[in-house]
């Protein structure tokens, strides 16, 4: 069973994808039920593995691909952090997408590729060496493209080209990095505390170059400035796709790859010794500030959220590059926190657009009275992004700041402070408009009239739940099964073994 479980987790979405592709377009009910069933089964399987891994079990699927290269899927504490997030959000995003795409064409293609994306994400999270990681990382690129261009408009196709230009370029950098590392070391296994500790110092320059290549390749998906250009462009895609890009899969896959490279390939101590962590922290800090400033300049809700992602994902990178367990916890826990908070925000943005036709911030005046639940969810997500307690984002920032102190990098505190102020500057006016501004005489384009619910319940339900999660992850951070406790478990295993 320990051999098959990782494959099974992968198969739940892979089989769903293949099944959905072959279904005729008009079998909406069957497709929806099968998709939801697969999502629930996946959550159950991942849940099972989480409990087992907490009890020191491991799950590994391994076979030889060719020569000295193995295909490895392994469920360790780190992979389950990401797999847990993705499988949970897959369920909610699927529910949301079913509501969002009601009555539109090409749903078979959409949900098929959506499931394929999640399958790739599962592979990314459970990959046990860089080679396997690369397989799923590229598969993710390819399966996301049809979703980005889903609308088929000239603008969407242009965004698709931009997306490919960046991600395939990044893939090439990553490939060169991995191939060189393999040629140098002979394998690319992920091992707790890394595999490079004993290499001869002659190789340090080459390893530094490889580190830069790997981070650059991963940094495209993680939207590190200046490799972030595709992310705002991809905003033309439907809201559930944005949620997928920003919270469930793509951006996270990049950030997660950085985790793997620093902790399981180079090893955090070796990276520190190599002197690559502080420059990385500087790049991440720059991205944080730059993303926030750009977000401030946007008048479109989704664009503002997109630049907010650019900034927020680099919190994760920043946390990883702070040498010490506290910073690690801050970075890892933000991987989860940012996911649930950002998915909430994108769900809300989609609801505003679908229900009232609002896509610009200045049209949000007074929406709070018309749509209290959605507005409340948006407020929770935004508070989290700013880092106001008790929302999850506060916990992340607290640990990041503490980690920076421990690492002796006091300037990072300044970065955190400035970025929080900027976050407040671009989120608080939105919240003010929602609740306190006087509404315009009529909404731009009201599609769904207010009935028993303020909007389509398929859209509302997942939004409310993820908002509740964002709050819960902060309030119950000290509980045994909170994201923070899981991040602590990983940090302990990384530093104390």
């Amino acid at each position: 069973m320990n051999f098959w479980l990782p494959l099974l987790v992968l198969a739940t979405s892979l089989v769903a994808a293949l099944f959905i592709f072959t279904l005729p377009e008009e079998r909406h009910a069957l497709r929806g039920s099968f998709n939801l069933l697969a999502a629930v089964v996946k959550i159950a399987l991942v849940g099972w593995m989480i409990i087992a891994v907490a009890n020191q079990q491991t799950f590994e699927t391994r076979f030889t691909l060719m020569g000295d290269i193995d295909f490895v899927l392994r469920a360790d504490a780190l992979s389950l952090l990401f797999a847990g997030l993705s499988s949970l959000l897959w369920l909610f995003t699927t529910i949301y997408a079913m509501g969002y795409l009601e009555g539109t064409p090409q749903r078979s293609r959409f949900f098929g590729f959506f499931s394929l994306c999640v399958a790739s994400t599962m592979g990314v999270s459970m990959a046990g060496n860089l080679f396997t990681f690369l397989i799923f990382f590229e598969m993710l690129t390819l399966s996301t493209y049809p979703l980005v261009v889903h609308k088929g408009s000239a603008e969407a196709l242009r965004a698709g080209r931009t997306y490919l230009f960046y991600t395939i370029g990044g893939g090439v950098a990553l490939l060169v990095g991995i191939a060189s590392l393999h040629a140098l070391v002979g394998h690319t296994e992920f091992v707790e505390t890394g595999v490079l500790r004993d290499v001869s110092p002659d190789l340090y320059p080459a390893l530094t170059a490889i580190f830069v290549l790997l981070i650059a390749g991963l940094g495209v998906k993680a939207a590190i400035v200046p490799l972030h250009g595709w992310l705002p462009a991809a905003m033309v895609a439907p809201a559930p796709v944005s949620a997928l890009l920003h919270a469930v899969a793509v951006v996270k896959a990049g950030a997660f790859g950085v985790v793997r490279v620093i902790y399981n390939v180079f090893g955090v101590e070796f990276s520190y010794q190599l002197g690559v962590l502080v420059p990385l922290a500087a790049v991440a800090s720059f991205t944080i500030i730059w993303g926030s400033i750009q977000a401030l300049r946007q008048s479109d809700i989704k664009k503002r959220l997109a630049f907010s992602t650019v900034s927020q994902v680099s919190y994760i990178i920043l946390g990883l590059s702070l040498f010490g367990p506290i910073g690690t916890m801050g970075g890892l826990v933000h991987l989860l926190h940012q996911g649930i908070m950002k998915v909430t925000l994108f769900f809300c943005a989609g609801i505003f657009a679908e229900t009232l036709g609002i896509t610009r911030i200045r049209d949000l005046n007074g929406v709070g009275k018309r749509m209290p639940l959605t507005s409340a969810a948006f407020t929770i997500g935004a508070f989290g992004m700013i880092g106001i307690p008790p929302v999850a984002g506060f916990i992340s920032k607290w640990y990041l700041g503490w980690g920076a102190m421990e690492a002796g990098l006091h300037w990072v505190l300044g970065v955190l402070l400035v970025s929080s102020l900027l976050n407040a500057a671009y989120f608080l006016p939105v919240i003010y408009r929602l609740w306190f501004a006087r509404p315009a005489p009529e909404w731009p384009d009201e599609q769904i009239p207010a009935g028993r619910f303020e909007t389509n319940p398929w859209l509302l339900l997942p939004t409310v739940i993820t908002a509740a999660f964002s709050l819960g992850a902060g309030v119950f951070a000290a509980a045994a099964w909170s994201p923070l406790s899981w991040a602590e478990l990983i940090a302990v295993r990384e530093y104390l073994s």
């Binding site: 691909l65 060719m66 690369l134 598969m139 490919l164 395939i168 191939a179 393999h182």
Partner: protein, 480 residues
């Protein structure tokens, strides 16, 4: 019982059968024959895997007098690939040719002659038999290109014929020189006899030129796109997937057998440079084509360039690097075979359904023909060299070889090639996702989509099962 002769007897028998008795249900008959051949190839494959290489002397005459057929790990892998691609293409052709009543009459005999020639080339152990195989192959391939009898097809066929004949001539001249000097044409015997004198090198250079011509290596490629792009879909698939590989296979064997002593490193680097230019030029031309089949045909020109990287990576480099290069090249040959056949079949279905040939005519096609497009997509993954696919694993091996021999310029070529490939492949996707277009399509038989999907799936599966062919490919390693 020795299975080797069966692989020649079956296609020749079926060729005669379909030529002489055209009133039989030839398509179904062909399917039966090809399944039989697939079974034989599979059994031989298994034999070689268990017992090692085997050989068969026709009429029990041994070299240098008689004809010896050799089945080693590489041979059986190629035989299996040929049978597998041929069986799917034959299945496709049965349904595809319903629209081509006239062409069907001669398609099947030519198809079988072509298979016999291919199997003969894979199995041949001496240079003269390789020549005979090449000639039979050329004639049947040219015949298939001109099946439709249309003006452009005849022109393309004639051009193909001239190029191939010129290639044959050069090859034959080289063979004659070698025979004059050493008195044998057996590859195994020659490889120990050859010494580095001007005559030998001239002979080898002539043969190399002839084979480069037949493989359509840049800048000798101009006959390929009209021939492959203008033929019927199943013909294009077979030509691009199999036929051009056969002359490359001879070239590779020749160079690996002759070895470092005879083949100067500079010549090997030159061949690699031609390959690099093919990758760039072919990719660029593919990007520029307005007809979708021509795009795929130029993609073949580019992909053949990757094969040429074998020479600079293997000649004059370390054993380890040479082994990796050999495995990578052969894996590329396999996965390109499956992927390109799938691509031509998928594109053939699209053109058949839409009734127009240009890329822009495929606007909005993803809504109407998702399966054909999906097959094209899966095949493209391998052609681009992205994981998971056989194409990616091949590229990985070539890259490892280049890195280990310190030849970073070939790494750069591999990467640039991938980027160019992505740009022309996604041109098709970009068009196919357009929203406002509403193409009128004729319905096509689902078997067409299924065939393309099957081949594409194999190209992808090679990404996970590359160990199976790669381990067999290490068998001819002793000849390095």
């Amino acid at each position: 019982m020795n299975l080797i002769p069966l692989l020649l007897v079956i296609p020749l028998a079926w060729a005669l059968l379909s030529l002489l008795l055209p009133r039989l249900p030839i398509g179904l008959l062909a399917l039966a024959g090809i399944v039989l051949q697939l079974g034989t190839a599979a059994m031989l494959w298994n034999n070689v895997q268990v017992h090692g290489a085997s050989s068969y002397a026709i009429g029990d005459w041994v070299a240098p007098l008689g004809i010896t057929l050799v089945a080693d790990g590489l041979t059986v892998t190629l035989l299996a690939m040929t049978a597998l691609i041929a069986v799917v293409c034959a299945f496709y052709a049965i349904f595809y040719l319903r629209a081509y009543e006239k062409e069907r009459r001669y398609f099947w005999p030519l198809f079988w002659f072509l298979l016999a020639a291919l199997n003969g080339i894979w199995l041949a152990g001496d240079l003269f038999n390789l020549y005979v195989g090449l000639e039979l192959l050329t004639l049947s391939a040219v015949g298939m290109v001109t099946l439709s009898g249309e003006r452009h097809a005849l022109a393309a066929g004639l051009r193909y014929l001239y190029a191939a004949l010129l290639g044959s001539l050069a090859y034959l001249l080289g063979v004659a020189l070698l025979y004059g000097a050493y008195g044998t044409l057996d590859l195994g015997q020659l490889s120990s006899l050859l010494d580095a004198n001007l005559m030998t090198q001239l002979a080898l250079a002539l043969m190399t030129f002839g084979l480069l011509m037949k493989t359509a290596v840049f800048p000798l490629h101009s006959w390929l796109p009209p021939a492959h792009g203008g033929a019927l879909a199943p013909v294009s698939a077979i030509l691009s997937a199999l036929v051009v590989k056969s002359s490359f296979y001879i070239l590779a064997r020749l160079w690996m057998d002759a070895g470092d002593a005879l083949m100067p490193v500079s010549a090997a680097q030159l061949l690699g440079t031609l390959g690099a230019l093919a990758i760039i030029w072919g990719g660029w031309q593919a990007f520029r084509q307005s007809e979708i089949k021509m795009l795929v045909a130029y993609s073949t020109v580019a992909q053949l360039g990757y094969l040429m990287l074998l020479f600079p990576l293997a000649i004059g480099q370390s054993q380890q690097s040479a082994v990796l290069a050999w495995q990578g090249t052969m894996l590329h040959l396999l996965s390109h075979g499956f992927a390109k056949a799938a691509m031509f079949l998928a594109v053939g279905t699209l053109v058949l359904a839409v009734g127009k040939k240009r890329v822009v005519d495929m606007a909005g096609i993803s809504a109407k023909m998702p399966l054909a497009l999906f097959a094209f997509g899966l095949a493209s993954i391998s052609i681009m060299g992205l994981p998971p696919s056989g194409g990616f694993n091949a590229k990985w091996l070539l890259m490892q070889s280049a890195i280990q021999s310190g030849q970073w310029h070939w790494v750069a070529v591999l990467l640039v090639g991938s980027l160019i490939t992505a740009s022309y492949v996604f041109r098709v996707f970009s068009v196919s996702f357009q929203k406002d277009a509403d193409p009128q399509i004729r319905s096509t038989h689902p078997a067409l989509d299924l065939s393309a999907l099957l081949l594409a799936a194999i190209a992808i599966a090679l990404g996970f099962a590359a160990a199976i062919p790669v381990e067999l490919l290490t068998l001819p390693e002793d000849m390095l």
